[in-house]
Amino acid sequence: MRVVRLTSEVDFAGWRSAARVLRTEGVEPHAVVWTVERDLFSPPPGDGVDGVDAPRSTSASQGEKAFTVPAAFLELAEQVILHRAADRFSLLYRILWRLEHTPHLIENPADPDMARARDMAKAVSRAAHKMKAFVRFRLIEGAAKETYAAWFEPAHRVTEATAPFFARRFSNMDWTILTPDACVAWDGERLMVSEGADPADAPSEDAQEELWRTYYASIFNPARLNPRQMRQEMPKRYWRNLPEAALIPALMEAAETRAAAMVRTPPRPPSDRVLKAAQRHARDASFGGGTPTTLEAVEAGVSVCRRCELWRDATQGVPGAGPSNSPLMFVGEQPGDQEDLAGSPFVGPAGQLFDRALAEAGVPRERVYVTNAVKHFKHEARGKRRLHKTPAQGEVNACRWWLDAERRLVRPRVIVMLGATAAFSVMGQPTRVAEARGQILPLPDQAQGLVTFHPAYLLRLPDPAARLTAYLTFVEDLRRAGELSGLA
């Protein structure tokens, strides 16, 4: 039997050195006893037991055969050693021992030893998390510099490991956290660790606690009483050091009555004072249904339009944009994701391609009017994305009211229809882009129509050569439209 004496309950370096020696010497896990040196007078090991004093250095001493372990094991061991279970040292040594013949052990979360170690590491990490949550500092009255102290009882021995968190968070105040295992203190520059302490060493109150308790009591909703959930997340073992926990029994007891009273009490009529105030602030009525006579009226109308169902899932109606007397109007299909969010037409990827083509065609972008056949974004939700859907004929018909108003008000000389939906909307009948593209079509309102590709179609073409050809045709169509309208 071999006995290993570690210097403290959290002596990871000592455990690691001793374990390295033991495994090198081939000492089997069941032949090792792990103990922690409590004081100078602890009894010496009995007869027939060889002591192994943990070497203080972490590097392998001479004569030891070096061996390697997966980095994941060391990370796990550093956590597990902070657990309060007495058998943690031997569990870790057993895993280390088994790693020699089962190198994949560390990757098997279903192995019983690994599962136990993982559970212990999880409990330690939870204890550290709860320490970050439940430490309650109290101001030390009369100290020259703003100084705080807290008494805390962690579920596992996580005080030293968690101290850096408090240093990062409360860097510019002096503080001490006292626990039964160890105390940590911060002076604005360094962390200091000392022996465990006693609750009496910490201040017993803080003036802010009255406000904190007020907040705790008020934020609680008695109609949702669920003490099981509360205890699961805030176990009772922490309550005695939480100033707000003293309120829990009374809050729970009164909850039923308070909730029942809310349900029973009939509503009272509102006071005149507030109603008058409300009337003062009453909003203007929303846009009426008459035919719009200005582009501003079109914009207002589009934003409250309910002529079809597309408004429901869209962010907003996107009206056209451009000079109100432009000789050249471009009609696209509908706003896309970016247009829907921004509230402006032709700002997404297709819009950018359109801008580029227009510049190459020599048409000044700021002098054309751009709009869409359908003013709301039709799409399908797919997780964090929205997929474009082609609007149905009924939706295009419903929205023609707005496009017609824009055509009437802007009176362009040339209308370019980008894609089939635009062509259907402007001409009122299904039109194939492949057949109608490039022809000059007289429109009833004296304007000349021209059908071409939608820029999004160009973006979708998979073959680069075909894409280039289509793009050049597109630029050529734009140039023609520019010339016809007198803009290029």
Binding site: W212, R228, V263
Partner: protein, 406 residues
């Protein structure tokens, strides 16, 4: 009007804030105070500093700047026609409370909302002043969540984004038509527009080029839907969520069971809050976000979830032909659809099966809930045989204690 002391104000303005379910303090940029003058840090993971007896976490100081409000939303305790006691904090009072609480480690930061006073812009300006003072005057590096007033100007919303880690706008009602009836002054389009602008701003600041300039900006936005105040079915609610996640990349949609409030409006049902329904909606929401389910697979629009069983098990029972699944060979997407297997357990199954033939006992050790999983899986030592197709399977899987929740 009598001058209220700070404690009384705090009581009124935190009571008024408790119907907002949002509590997260996660997802902020990592930072600490080592190179600063003030206090505060955020390290990615949120921290819940206390739990109230309703089981909800207390992470942030969640308060209203004021509960005076010119709106008359029927479901809200702060609506203009309610006789609830009113109070208003000064900017300095909120700043001091936040710092005092933070230094004592009671909170992760501030969640500031407000009733609308005078105008949306005026209210938003006051809220931005609080956040600005915390950040600039006190170098506060803890978490700040600001509620946006949808009618406030885009410039103010953008300024809020400079100081907040998260912003949110509550849609509250899953259906636009009920918003019209129950919250006549709120305009769904205003809300959606403000969310759209915020997503563009958040995306823009997350661009690698912008990041290099080290301008901090809010990282995320969220919203809340009230459950049970209108006629919306669970399918409608989840369809709305799917729409919101897709359109505005929300980090969370919170569901808040409509809870009786003091001095309630006669237009709303005064019943116990539908907590079990809320719970099932959260489960379904998780299935959409982390388990690859589409809303229509979970529950159709216009229909309700089955309250007696979790939605994943419910789906599996209706799609038994796809089971049992061999945990040794099935791909990740398929494993994620197995009842009783959570996302973590699936990752562990994928790791473990590279080195071992998984048994039922192994499944249990990696964190699976066997009671729900066993009818749907094949392992090295187990095959469910006729169990998967047994008619009584559902009643065996319904956990009676879940029905005791109300």
């Amino acid at each position: 009007m009598a001058v209220l002391d700070l404690r009384r104000k705090l009581a009124i303005l935190s009571d008024a804030a408790k119907y907002d379910a949002s509590c997260a303090s996660s997802g902020a940029t990592k930072r600490n105070s080592l190179d600063g003058k003030g206090v505060g840090s955020t390290e990615g993971m949120g921290i819940c500093h206390a739990y109230a007896p309703d089981g909800r976490c207390i992470s942030l100081l969640k308060i209203l700047l004021t509960n005076f409000c010119i709106y008359d939303c029927a479901y809200c305790i702060n609506r203009v026609s309610s006789n609830t006691p009113r109070a208003r904090f000064t900017v300095k009072e909120v700043v001091d409370l936040t710092l005092n609480f933070y230094k004592r480690n009671y909170i992760e930061g501030l969640f500031l909302s407000s009733g609308v006073i005078r105008t949306g812009d005026y209210t938003m300006e006051e809220m931005v002043r609080v956040a600005k003072s915390l950040r600039l005057d006190h170098d506060f590096r803890g978490y700040i969540h600001l509620k946006l007033i949808p009618e406030a100007s885009p410039e103010l919303a953008a300024e809020a984004g400079l100081y907040a880690d998260r912003v949110s706008i509550n849609i509250e009602l899953p259906r636009d038509d009920s918003l019209k009836t129950l919250a006549p002054e709120k305009d769904p389009t205003d809300i959606k527009r403000a969310m759209g602008r915020m997503r563009l701003a958040i995306d823009d600041h997350a661009e690698p080029a912008r990041k290099a300039q080290r301008r901090t900006f809010a990282r995320s936005q969220s919203t809340q839907l009230i459950v049970g105040a209108d006629e919306a079915r669970d399918g409608d609610i989840l369809a709305r969520s799917a729409n919101l996640y897709g359109a505005y990349r929300l980090s969370r949609v919170y569901y808040s069971a409509f809870s009786p409030i003091p001095d309630a409006s006669h237009r709303l049902p005064l019943v116990r809050p539908p907590l079990l329904r809320e719970h099932r909606l959260y489960q379904a929401d998780w299935l959409m976000r982390f388990y690859g389910f589409a809303q229509s697979e979970i529950v159709a629009t216009g229909e309700d979830l089955d309250l007696s069983i979790d939605p994943k098990t419910g789906w599996a029972l209706k799609n038994r032909a796809q089971f049992p699944v061999d945990v040794q060979t099935a791909d990740r997407d398929t494993l994620l659809r197995v009842p009783g297997l959570g996302a973590k357990a699936v990752e562990r199954v994928l790791a473990a099966r590279r080195v071992t033939r998984l048994t039922l006992e192994d499944l249990k050790r990696v964190g699976a809930v066997l009671k729900r999983a066993r009818a749907f899986v094949v392992t090295a030592d187990w095959t469910p045989g006729a169990l998967t197709d047994q008619e009584s399977l559902k009643s065996a899987l319904v956990r009676p204690q879940q029905l005791s929740l109300f």
